[in-house]
Subunit: 298 residues, 2 copies
């Protein structure tokens, strides 16, 4: 007992150090992970200001709102009939011609920030959205909603929301390096095209689906699927001679979702102003990588 009594101060000292150390490491790991998920400024690799928290799936943000989820299963378990598939086949010479022609068409595409207010036939817009809707998606969930805004007042409200956030992005969130990287493209937070373009297409990803019975349905790879469908949309727009610029308004998602009355399972992924190019439209004098710089043949 005497031995213990004399040793206990040592025990206490050791234990205090242990506790202090553990608490310290815990606090550190907590703060670092918090920093990782925040949209705080800075341009280092660990700060990722271009990652919009609202772009994350609900499941990525927090499990809380999903605690009471009742995920639909039954209506997905039946097998589908499989049918023969014999698409059109072209002779080799024609294939080659078509591949050259399609590359030439897409290679003409540029991101255009100067859009003419001239009207564009609504039916053309319907068809480019239909084309985008043919994209593949994880387990055929088709997790996309295309909100086409033609109403001038709504377009202006969108502009106000985007410019307000973008100014904060440029001045605070993005960090000097990103602003530098964008300077050469002469982009800033003033987005006149949000008023002038005859149509704004806001592309929402559905982070989960809602079955007729109100049950939720998992949307696998929904961001990749919706981005692929955006690729088809860009090709469809280029094919009819319309221009756009692929924008990802940082941190505007929640406000725009509310403005456009979209449900909670939808997150804004991209905003595309669509129209004819302005007569005096210019684009930065960029070139694209050569085939040898993007393709590796094995």
């Amino acid at each position: 007992m005497a031995l213990i009594s004399t040793l206990t101060p040592v025990f206490v000292a050791i234990l205090c150090v242990v506790v202090a150390f553990i608490l310290k490491t815990r606090r550190w790991s907590e703060s670092s992970s918090a920093q990782k998920s925040s949209s705080g400024g800075g341009s280092g690799p660990e700060a990722r200001p271009w990652v919009d928290e609202d772009l994350q799936d609900d499941t990525e943000i927090s499990g809380r709102e999903n605690e009471d989820d009742d995920w639909a299963v039954d209506d997905w378990t039946e097998d589908l009939a499989h049918v023969p598939y014999t698409p059109r086949r072209y002779p080799e010479e024609e294939m080659l011609e078509r591949s050259k022609h399609f590359y030439a068409l897409l290679n003409e595409r540029r991101s255009v920030r100067f859009i003419s207010p001239e009207p564009v036939p609504r039916e053309v817009i319907d068809n480019v959205i239909r084309a985008a809707g043919t994209a593949p998606s994880g387990a055929h969930t088709e997790p996309w909603t295309f909100v086409v805004v033609a109403d001038a007042e709504t377009k202006h409200k969108i502009r106000e929301i985007v410019e307000e956030e973008e100014e904060i992005n440029y001045k605070q969130r993005m960090g000097d390096k990103w602003v530098h990287d964008l300077r050469r493209l002469r982009t800033n937070w003033v987005k006149e095209y949000l008023d002038t373009a005859p149509y704004l297409i806001l592309i929402f990803k559905q982070t989960y689906g809602i079955m007729p019975a109100g049950k939720k349905k998992t949307h696998y790879y929904n961001e990749i699927s919706v981005s692929i469908s955006c690729g088809l949309l860009l090709a469809a727009l280029q094919n009819v001679g319309l221009v756009t610029v692929t924008s990802t308004p940082l941190n505007c998602g929640p406000q725009l979702r509310v403005l456009l009355h979209r449900p909670a399972n939808e997150k804004l992924l991209m905003l595309l102003p669509v129209g004819y190019p302005a007569p005096d439209a210019t684009v930065p004098d960029l070139s694209r990588k050569d085939l040898k710089d993007i393709m590796v043949f094995v």
Copy 2:
């Protein structure tokens, strides 16, 4: 001193409890976060087995390997000249015709898992990759690498890696619900097309770029950009009458990256087998959503 001596056993006891408690909570939070980021099974919203850790940016996985980064800036700060842009403009009737025709073309596309071994002209593949390379990208970083595999031995090695991982995915990682969701598409972990397709196109996203001086360059939105370029690739393939299936091999990225000698800044995003459809090819009898179900007009 006597007081302390008599109290110290109590101190020790309390401190032991505190330490035990802290260690316990730490271990719990560690294991739960590990489970979240791992591909562990289950089908609830908090378990996300379809999220491949290797698909995350390095910055998302850990800051460690980036500690000593030296991010290039200077060569990005100069302004580019801006040049007039006057793309081809079509009369309204022609626009409408083109939009209908392009939608009809893309609407014929299906994901095909039965691919013919017939050879396909290499030049056609070059052109569809060129077309994919015209996609827009964050700050024009063009963060994609298309690895085209025609070598039979390499294709078979890829098949072995993918099938081994996929079998584990189906049996352990994905959870019953996902397996159910895929059953209707009759997909499983046997991927014969990885041997039979004349070409496998493995699409890597570059999570950061490397400047001539060896400095690193941020790649904004690299996953969205590469997914958009995959959309252009799918359109280009459909345009020449070739078929593919958009696959995202879960957890195969690191092995395939090593097999194909790709650098550490590249992560496998998608794997597309490409060729003519097999004569007896079938597809699940799926339909696509109507325009009214994917478009909202404001």
